[in-house]
């Protein structure tokens, strides 16, 4: 069967379609990190003094921390002095409209299938595009403003709404939270800020595309979403990067705050460059994402489709503080080549009757390694808390790996916690069966994988579900459909 495995792998080994480099002039810091760099970033951004002080505090704390080593991932040590911490396309610092954006950058997004212009005109999706360290275009701002929704780059928010940012930033993920969160808190250069006022249902999907272009740079974006009482928002982020031989670091922090009866739906389609099939290059993706269900009956839902990055380390989590608050995590993670993913979630139940659902689908092919790591914690005060976890792994070929690490801590006897897990394999028998019924191997694999991921895809906003399916087809081209 060795033969068939390699045939299958040839089919899986599709090229990374987003791997091109955009040639533009950029203002890029030389590699290295010290207090002067932190100050310089803050200065470039024209930040208030308190922000600089927060950055410095985070930086000094970061110096005392060690990189965590508990995840099932292997990579050479990251040299933080070899990374450039700021890169920005050269142009006038403040953009009034899309016309001022470098056409090369717009062309880049066009090539990625994200036509900012077109999206603006047709789809009713508001887009913020972050290119290397800087937000280059935010569309639909006026329409959103009429509804009272703020959707802008976080650097702008620091200028225009400093008090809001000050109140909420680091209130969900404090800089001491972990090594990468501390680093991000010191050097974050841009990201997205969303504010939905009380009772407002955001009139459109909000979406951000992140693109790392410049070589040897890291991307450290910071996203902050605040949903006031009774408001609702659906947000999607997409990520790509050029193919480069060296590894690049991406260490983002995302904070969500949901007040009473508010609902935040956060979807990610992550397709950073995964490295080549020998394991060379690729993005190291160390991300801290956390949502705080502060108000009663608040609801936070994370959906992620993770097909890229050489290393993925992320655990989008919910702190279920409010009574009857709801946390959800739906995940598809694909690893092929030498990709490694250690991903999952944390559901921290504090409020009475809080409920959480976890659905994790891991797909491993070739030498890919996929670990689900999840924590369900029911605090003493969380009467009648409920969790249901479902964790499925699909293996393709015989050299890949799947791991499951569920942690369950229950301190209240009324809690109900369920955990289901399965591991299955796309078998030769299945492929033969489908082909005997006239389907190609590609169609067969795609059918089996889409079937496997169905529960997660149906959580994505419609247009992105289609995109995710396509991405999966490219990511596992052929054999494993």
């Amino acid at each position: 069967m060795g033969q068939t495995n390699s045939e299958m792998e040839a089919l899986i080994a599709a090229e990374y379609a987003q791997g091109f480099i955009t040639r533009i002039d950029s203002d890029t810091f030389p590699p290295g990190l010290d207090e002067a760099v932190v100050r310089a970033i803050s200065e470039r951004k024209g930040e208030p003094e308190w922000m600089l002080q927060k950055r410095l505090e985070a930086y000094r704390h970061w110096l005392t921390m060690d990189q965590p080593d508990w995840a099932v991932i292997n990579h050479p040590p990251i040299d933080f002095q070899q990374i450039s911490y700021y890169s920005s396309p050269k142009q006038s610092p403040k953009l009034e409209s899309l016309d001022q954006v470098d056409p090369e950058i717009l062309a880049t997004y066009e090539k990625l299938g994200i036509s900012i212009e077109e999206q603006k005109a047709l789809s009713g999706v508001a887009v913020d595009a972050v290119f290397d360290s800087v937000s280059v275009a935010t569309t639909f701002r006026e329409t959103l403003a009429e509804a009272g929704v703020i959707f802008c780059a976080i650097s702008e928010a620091l200028r225009d709404y400093p008090e809001l940012v000050r109140q909420y930033m680091a209130s969900v993920v404090p800089h001491k939270d972990n090594f990468f969160a501390a680093l991000n808190s010191a050097v974050f250069s841009d990201g997205t800020f969303v504010y939905i006022p009380e009772g407002v249902k955001c009139p459109m999907e909000l979406s951000t595309y992140f693109r790392i272009n410049e070589a040897k740079t890291g991307q450290f974006e910071r996203t902050l979403i605040i949903a006031e009482a009774g408001s609702e928002v659906s947000y999607l982020e997409g990520c790509t990067a050029p193919m480069r031989d060296e590894n690049q670091l991406h260490a983002a922090v995302v904070e969500l705050v949901a007040m009473e009866d508010a609902k935040i739906k956060y979807s990610t389609v992550q397709n950073w460059y995964p490295g080549d099939l020998e394991g060379k290059g690729g993005i190291y993706n160390f991300v801290t994402k956390r949502g705080d269900c502060r108000g009663d009956r608040s609801h936070i839902s994370w959906t992620q489709v993770e097909t890229g990055s050489a290393v993925t380390w992320k655990y989008p989590s919910c702190i279920l503080r409010g009574r009857d608050s709801v946390g959800e995590f739906y995940s598809v993670a694909v690893t092929k080549g030498f990709q490694q993913a250690d991903t999952g979630t944390k559901m921290i139940h504090i409020g009475e009757n809080s409920r959480s659902t976890i659905v994790s689908k891991g797909i491993s092919a070739m030498q890919g390694s996929n670990a689900y790591r999840g924590l369900v914690r029911i605090a003493g005060k969380a009467e009648n808390a409920r969790n249901h976890t479902r964790c499925d792994s699909l293996l393709i070929g015989d050299r890949c790996a799947a791991h499951t690490f569920p942690y369950i801590e229950v301190k209240n006897p009324t809690a109900k916690v369920e955990h289901e897990a399965t591991t299955s394999k796309v078998s030769e028998d299945q492929l033969f069966y489908c082909r005997q019924r006239g389907l190609t191997e590609e169609d067969a694999v795609s059918m089996i994988i889409n079937g496997f991921c169905k529960e997660v895809f149906q959580e994505l906003p419609m247009e992105f579900a289609v995109e995710a399916q396509k991405l999966l087809a490219v990511s596992l081209e052929g054999a494993v459909g």
Binding site: F432, Y433, Q436, R437, I448, G451
Partner: protein
């Protein structure tokens, strides 16, 4: 329609088929019987193009073409259908969508438009009723959690929907109770037309109580050792396979 000439094949270096000759014409139903390990399933799998077998000699012509040169899906698209002994489960893949994808793949290959939803639904419901497959199973994942009998009924349903030119049934009767056996037999009989060839591989004679074969062949030790009419099956039922093997060896 199907002409097998002196076919030899091995698995992992062990010779399983040692020179099989067989000719099936349109409109004919042939039964292949034989003891366990005689190569019956190997023959069915080689005709469908399954990996893991090496054909070491001989040839197979199907509708005038060299069948062994075709990929598995190309054979299927040219009307060759294999009802499997162990139908495979496809968790998460909806039974009806699977069937429809399959039908459309075949229709596209024939240059026909895809089937519209309405006529597909009508057909699938009618045929599910004929093979006594619970309609609920149409909405479930392909074969996932089906009983042995349900899986076989599902195979017959697929066969009825795909309307093959040549249908091969690989021990479809094994492990079935009498009701399921009858349903399978009815399904086969319903598909018997002047244009269609059928090859029914079976270990037991009892399926042939319900299906009247035009010819019966006995495959033993990799060769067809005896061919005859329906009466050959009855003789096998009465006398077993031993005497044939002895005769063949002699």
């Amino acid at each position: 329609m199907l002409a097998i000439k002196n076919l030899t094949a091995s698995v992992d270096g062990k010779e399983i088929l040692k020179g099989v000759d067989l000719q099936v014409e349109a409109g004919e139903l042939h039964a292949i019987m034989g003891p366990n390990g005689s190569g019956k399933s190997t023959l069915a799998h080689i005709l469908a193009g399954r990996d893991g077998y090496s054909v070491t000699g001989g040839e197979v012509r199907y509708l005038g073409e060299d069948l062994l040169q075709l990929e598995v899906e190309e054979r299927a698209r040219q009307g060759l259908f294999l009802a499997m002994q162990y139908p495979v489960e496809l968790p998460g893949v909806n039974n009806m969508s699977f069937l429809r994808e399959s039908m459309n793949a075949l229709r596209r290959a024939r240059g026909e438009p895809e089937i519209d939803t309405l006529s597909f639904m009508k057909q699938v419901k009618e045929k599910a009723r004929q093979v006594k497959l619970d309609e609920k199973l149409l909405k479930r994942s392909v074969n996932a959690g089906f009983s042995g009998g349900e899986k076989k009924r599902n195979e017959i349903l697929q066969m009825a929907m795909l309307e093959p030119k040549l249908a091969i049934l690989d021990e479809t009767d094994s492990g079935l109770d009498i009701d399921a056996l009858r349903t399978v037999a009815d399904g086969v009989n319903r598909l018997r037309t002047a244009e269609r060839g059928m090859l029914v591989v079976t270990h037991y004679q009892r399926l042939l109580d319900y299906i009247q074969p035009d010819k019966v062949h006995v495959l033993a030790d990799g060769r067809i050792v005896r061919s005859g009419g329906k009466e050959l099956a009855l003789e096998l039922e009465a006398r077993g396979y031993g005497w044939l093997l002895e005769e063949a060896a002699a």
